[in-house]
């Protein structure tokens, strides 16, 4: 039984309300299942639609078409959610400094959502609970931080509080959009660890969005690879990291700077000034292995091994 099922999700952005001058296919036919309790990774380069996916799934942005089923009931079609479902889906964003109302003290920023969702009976209990979470997250002494304004805290501290704010609502499903990519290396670990601890404790399912393949490989159970709005590969994290099949994933893997292992880089084709995408494979313009078929048609996503789907003609040659 899956917690979240997404079928053929599309999101096109168009500029101009009356004259639709151009449209960006931020998501173009994405389908996947998320099982309860897992950490589902979404990776891909800048602009491939990761944030869009997070916003659509957390019902902050409407999809163009497609179906989203959450705990057996349909979410797609409207942004109006009943308060209970609203509480169950939470989101954390990339920029910790933008994630807090600059005029509210941390305490208010944490209390407000709890009050709205009737977590605990009164503010005293809520405060108690907040302090407990803060303490677990390594804020010492926790109440000293509650009185501060967001600009008085560091990015790493704010991002940890951002995670606490989401987890205080006991969500079933949490979208974490690049939650460490703006932080310094030395504080990333504390943020990721806090997230992992809390979601394990509360059995929360996570959509973990990142552009960092090594981080995804480290924390996720499944990984989905997006390229220009299309799913190109989906498998367990182990498979994606150890034996990636899609040329893009392989290229990504070979270019991830690592101090542990020097990998041979796969050369990709150079992109020109104009990047026109025809009807062929989305990755064709850069793919080092492309052949005639690739220019003609976008390959479908096919499960070529158990639990391992790839959209590439290389694996469909029969």
């Amino acid at each position: 039984m899956s917690l979240l099922n997404v079928k053929n999700l599309k999101k096109y952005y168009s500029a101009g309300l009356i004259k639709k001058r151009y449209s960006v296919k931020a998501l173009d036919g994405v389908s996947f299942d998320v099982v309860p309790g897992e950490i589902f990774g979404v990776i891909g380069e800048s602009g491939c639609g990761k944030t869009t996916l997070g916003l659509v799934l957390s019902r902050l942005e409407r999809e163009t078409s497609g179906e989203i089923t959450f705990k057996g009931s349909k979410l797609s079609g409207t942004l109006k959610l009943d308060p209970e479902t609203r509480r169950q889906i939470q989101i954390i964003f990339q920029n910790p400094y933008e994630s807090f109302d600059p005029r509210l003290r941390i305490e208010q920023s944490l209390l407000l959502p709890m009050r709205i969702n009737h977590i605990c009976d009164n503010d005293a209990e809520r405060r108690e609970k907040i302090l407990g979470y803060m303490k677990d997250a390594g804020f010492e002494p926790p109440d000293a931080f509650l009185n501060r304004y967001p600009h008085e805290l560091s990015g790493g501290q704010l991002q940890r509080i951002s995670i606490i704010r989401a987890m205080l609502l006991k969500p079933t499903f949490l979208v974490a959009d690049e939650c460490v990519s703006m932080l310094d290396l030395s504080v990333r670990a504390s943020v990721v660890n806090l997230l992992l601890d809390l979601v394990e404790r509360e059995r929360t399912t996570v959509l973990f969005i990142t552009h960092d393949l090594s981080l995804a490989g480290h924390v996720c159970d499944h990984i989905m690879v997006l390229y220009l709005g299309k799913m190109v590969e989906l498998s367990t994290a182990k498979r994606i990291v150890e034996s990636p099949l899609h040329p893009y994933t392989r290229v990504l893997m070979s270019y991830s700077p690592s101090i542990f292992k020097k990998r041979e880089k796969i050369n990709v084709k150079k992109l020109g000034v104009e990047t026109a995408i025809g009807s062929g494979c989305v990755f064709e313009p850069r793919c080092p292995y492309s052949f005639e078929k690739c220019v003609e048609q976008m390959p479908p996503l096919i499960e070529i091994e158990p639990n391992h789907s790839v959209a590439c003609w290389l694996y469909l040659k029969t």
């Binding site: 380069e45 800048s46 390594g138 560091s154 790493g156 501290q157 310094d184 290396l185 030395s186 504080v187 990333r188 670990a189 504390s190 990721v192 660890n193 992992l196 552009h211 960092d212 393949l213 090594s214 981080l215 490989g217 480290h218 924390v219 990291v241 150890e242 290229v251 990504l252 070979s254 270019y255 991830s256 700077p257 690592s258 101090i259 542990f260 292992k261 880089k265 990709v268 150079k270 992109l271 020109g272 000034v273 990047t275 850069r286």
Partner: protein, 322 residues
Amino acid sequence: MKNIVLDVQDLSVHYRINKKVIRAVEDVSFKVEEGDFVGIVGESGSGKSTLAHTIIRLLPTNAMVVSGRIELLGYDVLSLGEEDMRKIRWKEFSMVFQKSLNALSPVHKVGNQLADAMKAHNPNLTEEEIIDRLKQLLRMVNLPERVLKAYPHQLSGGMMQRIMIALALLNHPKFIIFDEATTALDVVTQGQIIEEIKSLVKSLSLTGLVISHDLGVVSELCDEIVVMYAGRLVEHGTTEQILQQPLHPYTQGLVRSLPDFAQEKKKLSGIPGNLPDLSQPVHQCVFAPRCPIATEECFKTVPSTEEIDGRRVACLKVGARI
């Protein structure tokens, strides 16, 4: 024995802002030998860019060099007059700036802007010679010639960054500083540019610095690594030494906070805490408040940079493993 191209001695640079003094660089010394690339790593605000700007003497007006000496390609950089400096900057040495992606004017074609930059330094070149040199430069950074006719917004981040690199190489400098030259790019483009920089460095026999907060990037490009923390040099060694056997607790923490593909799904380890307030003078090890092995002594003494087995470390508990 190779020639020393860059020699930084006891350099301290402070900023004055709102009557406060920010100690951005404190007592930093290191040398770069001919043909070597040295990486400067450290978290945001540790003074990496300030160090680079001091070396090419492009500090903002509220900055002051409090002490130290910099010798670059035989020039005593800090005592050179502004006029003399202008003659050699960009010719003898140059820099690719952090956040340089929007350095070009959006309303002029890339080619014209590059040509102007070239003319400014070589007034005697003819139009044709300039165009020839530009084309040659573009080939060097793997860009098609048609980018000369493009406007900056028509180019991707990777292409723009290659242009900035081309711009820095315009006058064939001997020494170059890359300040976060690949940071804003996606992994594949970053990887490609790193490869390109590698081959450029080899073919032009350049010497220089690579500044990045990303140990991965630095380890790909550099022979040696300088680790900075809160404006101070905490460790300096060969890339292998730093990555395989970091001595300073801060470097150890940095190396261990990298996720690794090979690792089991286990906790990442990081360094709890934040960079200290740089406007307060310190009379202790700057890293002590975050250091897992700090003892009372660390809160009383400023550690000096000691040389051990051909590498330099500023830690009172040197060699101690966590």
